[in-house]
Amino acid sequence: MKPIPILGRWARTLAPDQSLNPTWDSAGFLVALLTLLVVGWYQQSNMILLVAGLASGPLVASLFVGGGLGKSRPSRRAPRYVFAGGPLAIDYVIENKRRVVPALALWVEDQLVAEDRTVSGWTAPLPRVFFARVTARGKGRARWEGTAPGRGRYQFGALELVSRAPFGLIERRMPVKAPGELLVYPAIGRLTRTWQHVQRQTTQTRRGRRHDRSAQQQEYHGLRDYRPGDSPRWVHWRTSARLGRPMIKEFEQQHEEDLAILVDAWLPRSKPTTAQREAVEEAVRFAATLCMDTCRRQGRRLLLGCTGTAPVVLHGPASVKLLHSLLEQLAVLRPAAEGSIAAVLDAMPPAMLREARLVIVSTRPIQLHEEIGRSTRLAENARRAFSGSRVMLLDASKGDLNAYFQREDRGDSSSFMARASFEAGKESAS
């Protein structure tokens, strides 16, 4: 064997990659052992010293026989995202690299650390799984199932391999770096019938007024190749001439109007109350539910605007991809004392500002006309149009959401199914 690898191995042996902690059992054991040693030494009794010496063996063996931590490689398979309060399942695998000796009674402890505890709160699960026996050169698998913590972005800490082998006297811990991220989306609730009713009424009223929109009530969507049966009226001649083959214009029927959800997650700078915090969470949950509901059907444009130090606006055609972006934004949304609806309105695209239906969810009383007045981009005429049934202002701190939204128990089937169908498409990260 070459000397350098040997030195490297020695260096690794000396490196403090494992920490040792005595257990309570070892405390009693140590007391008994010391008593024996002192009595044996005082009496100069070889037999007592022999028994004491042999009794010290397990303690020392525990220091040097480590249950194969160094040769075990733990790994984790966790979903990339889950919903707050929903089920969270994480799979753990241990690979035993030893050739002959099995790994026995190993624990893997994991840690989820919230990136921002002002968002996620102070409690996070500590997954812990037990591997009774992992054969030599084999793999062991175990699953941990728990409840997802509060919304936010979480980092997985190092996986800790824990063993008390061989006697349970000393606990040996070895951290293994296994970086990972878990995004916890806000919990999804259920929109009430009242909400559906209000939606319908508003849509009908607004359709009656939308005579200025495209006469065909259709919206240009894109181009595609010609197929037999297509009307010649739909041929896009300029593109066909450029490409040398007939290209057909596609239109999408516009049944529902665009929606802009503006979330004003306001929280006072000092000493916010529990009710105020809960109002923020309620507003975020409602916004997430609205996003989910809207993205189930394609054809609408959806916008999410959030107040804060720097206002954020995300928008696009309703799709799964957009939904992920919106839920991620809502997951990490930090309540703030700064920011205003007016700033969000200024950041909105003009088309959406002009045509979309606005749902403003706030955690404080808002005077809409004052916000419009503060807006630098809203023209005078737009200010007049920006009122009435196109804007829905909801104050979560006053319980305005209760009529339109219900928080869901985990067993609620309809919303759960909706989430399940959404989760079916999600990717999982290893």
Binding site: P16, D17, S19, G28, F29, A32, Q43, S45, N46, M47, L49, L50, V51, G53, L54, A55, G57, P58, V60, A61, V65, V100, V101, P102, L104, A105, W107, V113, D116, R117, R128, V129, F130, A132, R133, A136, A142, R143, E145, G146, G157, A158, A165, P166, F167, G168, P175, K177, R269, S270, C306, T309, A310, P311, L314, H315, R334, A336, E338, A347
Partner: protein, 759 residues
């Protein structure tokens, strides 16, 4: 069978081993001492089959407590039956009863430790009662089964903990989570653990400082050996001769301290017997003035080149005479106990009546030397001289037929000597009589004794009737024949030869090596009267007889004797002197050798340092040599500082588990955010900078950016981070919230009010 069943089985085996240790060394025919292990074994089987099964019923606490009291009563009664010898065994038996009661109860967590602790105390009590060979085997059995029980108990306990763990998903209620546990890998692990335990246990045992001669061993199990008391009935030695038990283990050294093998025919002299009457030999009375054996010969005699030193370890025995080859130049105890005493009259070495346990002593002797203390050789004018010539008269009254033994012996001696030409010299007469008995044609060596004529003297019976016997008969006959021919003689009992063990380089003397021979007072070639040894026993027949006792093959005997030697010398008899010899001296020797090896190097370095630091005055410092020394010292100081800092950093990293970046500490999101935000604007912490120094620099940076009201923020965030990181404080959410708010403001100030991105 599941792992749990194996665990219980090992635990109960360990308890049974402990109970067997408590039995000590009792003759096999005694049944009562074996009751306690039997009770433990039966209780264990009952618990294993009934109590420990799922749904099994155990002894309820309401019944266990009265049973415990009953056990105390039983132990007290046992103690009362014999207050002198029964205290320790009674305590041991009480522990056994409590063990059995606990075994029969339903088990809870921690009961394994309780039971094993009880068994540990039982073993300690057992170690006080007996420390024989069997004890070592039982102790090893107890250790192995206890370790296995602890290992399996740990596995079972961990599996139970896992069953209570929140979130863990189990694949069905399998009966054994460690199915297929006992494979080669597990056995390898278990072996490693056992080896570590035994190895380190023995190392701890050996390294624990000894203050004196070692343990005083109890007398339990020790009994007097036949043939070695002050009064010996002829024929009793036959019991000893058929016994294979070890009597003593001997290490022999030459004058240079090297191990040597003693002569195969060495006579390990024990007690000499003078008076004979009715088949019974007794010691010369009074046996003379005993002196400390350390003063037998002069100190100078023990320093000769031909001197051999024997270190002898006697097994526990109630026999007082101890053994050594002639001549004894000096003897001293090396273990515990008193120095041996030497009788100046019959040259018998003996120990004190309370030294009957393991007794270890050293004897200096000189093979071939004729040294004898003057007091040992009687002169003709001394009354005791006649005792060595006395012959038995009539046989005891009432015995038939009466015979004149004395006349018959004298007539026999005359006839034998006449056959050999009537030698005049006492030495020649003795040799003639010795060879007459020894040649093996007329008298046969046997351990099967048949008396032809009841009531006759055993020696008379041997000489004239049976003509068969063992060494004691041959020696008795020669002693009496020598006396009948006018040569003073005495019988000596001891051992001849021994089994040489090449592994341990020791001689193991067993009871079967017991031997009798004769010492006759004759004038040697130099004309001086001395006690000389004569051995009339046919040597070949005796050797054959000795080899037939004991059934072990040579190799097994070799190994078992070696193990026994380790046990006797390095465990039971380990003392300060042996510790110094085995442990300290070799270490010191290595250090001395290493010191010698580096001596040249050290001298050169010393010379160099002397040259470098030879500055007679201050002005000489300002020279090229001074420059070199100064730079060297500065480099050394810098290196030392670097090493200390590295060690401190390693220590800190080890304290926190060896992994992770500071700013990823849970709860330190605000600090991470501060660092990242500042890094966005090109402000990064240098490796030579502490976080607080960096915080101050960041504050100045913000001041330069006209963010006046937030210049304290980096230092404040650092302070909070320090509290979290080093003070292990749980930060108040409100404090964190306030920091986050100020960070929002800072972020807003630095970035300006920019809109978010668009998907």
């Amino acid at each position: 069978m599941t792992t749990g069943h194996f665990h219980r089985a090992c635990l109960y085996l360990a308890l049974t081993f402990a109970a067997l240790v408590l039995v000590g060394e009792h003759p096999e025919e005694e049944f009562v001492p074996f009751m306690s292990p039997a009770i433990v074994a039966i209780g264990s089987i009952l618990a294993w089959t009934v109590v420990d099964r799922p749904g099994g019923r155990g002894l309820p606490a309401a019944l266990a407590n009265p049973l415990g009291l009953l056990a105390v009563g039983l132990a007290y009664l046992e103690y009362e039956s014999n207050r002198v010898n029964n205290l320790i065994p009674a305590l041991g038996h009480l522990l056994i009863y409590l063990q059995v009661i606990k075994v029969l109860q339903p088990k809870k967590k921690g009961d394994d430790w309780y039971l094993l602790t009880l068994s540990l105390v039982v073993v300690l009590v057992g170690s006080y009662i007996g420390q024989g060979d069997f004890f070592a085997v039982l102790l090893l059995g107890w250790i192995m089964t206890s370790l296995l029980a602890l290992m399996l108990g740990h596995l079972e306990h961990e599996a139970q903990r896992a069953g209570l763990t929140e979130g863990q998903v189990h694949e069905g209620p399998g009966p054994d989570p460690y199915r297929g546990l006992f494979d080669g890998g597990f056995l390898a692990t278990a072996s490693l653990v056992v080896l570590w335990t035994l190895g380190f246990g023995l190392a701890t045992f050996l390294a624990t400082p000894r203050l004196g001669g070692g343990t005083t061993t109890p007398l339990a199990g020790a009994s007097p050996m036949s043939g070695f008391s002050e009064e010996v009935q002829l024929g009793r030695m036959g019991e000893v001769l058929e016994n294979d038990a070890v009597v003593m283990t001997i290490e022999s050294f030459d004058s240079a301290g090297n191990r040597v093998q003693p002569d195969e025919e060495t006579h390990w002299r024990g007690i000499s017997l003078v008076n004979y009457r009715d088949g019974k030999w007794s010691r010369e009375s009074p046996a003379g003035r005993p002196i400390a054996a350390s003063g037998v010969g002069s100190e100078a005699r023990t320093r000769g080149t031909h001197v051999v030193r024997h270190r002898i370890k006697l097994e526990p025995s109630r026999t007082q005479p101890i053994f050594a080859p002639r001549p004894v130049l000096r003897a001293k105890v090396t273990g515990t106990g008193n120095d041996p005493r030497f009788s100046t009259q019959d040259a018998t070495l003996s120990r004190g009546p309370n030294d009957g346990g393991y007794y270890e002593y050293e004897v200096w002797t000189a093979p071939g030397s004729l040294f004898q203390p003057d007091e040992e050789v009687p002169t003709e004018d001394q009354p005791r001289y006649g005792r060595f010539l006395s012959l038995p008269g009539l046989t005891a009254p009432g015995r038939a037929p009466r015979s004149q033994l004395k006349e018959r012996l004298e007539g026999f001696a005359r006839r034998v000597l006449a056959e050999r030409g009537n030698p005049k010299a006492a030495l020649d007469r003795a040799q003639a009589l010795e060879s007459y008995l020894r040649d093996g044609r007329r008298y046969q060596y046997t351990l099967q004794l048949d008396r032809v004529r009841d009531g006759s003297d055993p020696v008379e019976d041997f000489l004239f009737n049976t003509k068969k016997g063992h060494c004691e008969y041959f020696a008795s006959a020669l002693t009496l024949l020598l006396r009948a021919s006018g040569v003073p003689a005495r019988l000596v009992n001891g051992f001849k030869g021994g089994d040489w063990n090449s592994l341990s380089s020791t001689t193991v003397v067993r009871q079967k090596h017991a031997h009798s021979w004769v010492e006759a007072l004759v004038q040697d070639d130099d004309g001086q009267a001395r006690w000389l040894e004569f051995d009339p026993t046919p040597p070949d027949e005796r050797r054959l007889s000795v080899s037939q006792v004991g059934r072990s093959t040579f190799r097994i005997r070799l190994v078992s004797d070696f193990l026994r030697y380790i046990w006797v010398y390095y465990v039971v008899g380990f003392n300060a002197e042996r510790q110094r010899r085995v442990l300290y001296e070799p270490v010191m020797q290595v250090i001395r050798k290493a010191g010698d090896g580096y001596k040249v190097l050290i001298e050169e370095v010393d010379r160099l340092i002397n040259w470098l630091f030879d500055f007679p005055d201050y002005s000489s410092l300002f020279s090229f040599r001074g420059f070199l020394v100064t730079v060297g010292l500065m480099l050394l100081l810098a290196g030392l500082t670097w090493v200390v800092r590295r060690i401190a950093a390693t220590w800190r990293r080890w304290r926190r588990g060896g992994a992770g970046d500071d700013i990823t500490l849970p709860g330190a999101a605000f600090y991470r955010r501060t660092v990242l935000l500042l890094a966005e604007f090109g402000l990064k912490r240098a490796s030579s900078e502490t976080p607080r120094e960096f915080g101050r620099r960041a504050g100045m940076f913000l001041f330069s950016r006209d963010v006046d009201d937030l210049t304290d923020l980096p230092v404040d965030a650092t302070d909070e981070y320090y509290g979290l990181r080093f003070g292990e404080e749980e930060l108040d959410p409100e404090r964190v919230g306030a920091l986050e708010t100020r960070l929002d403001a800072l972020e807003s100030e630095l970035r300006g009010r920019k809109p978010g991105h668009t998907a």
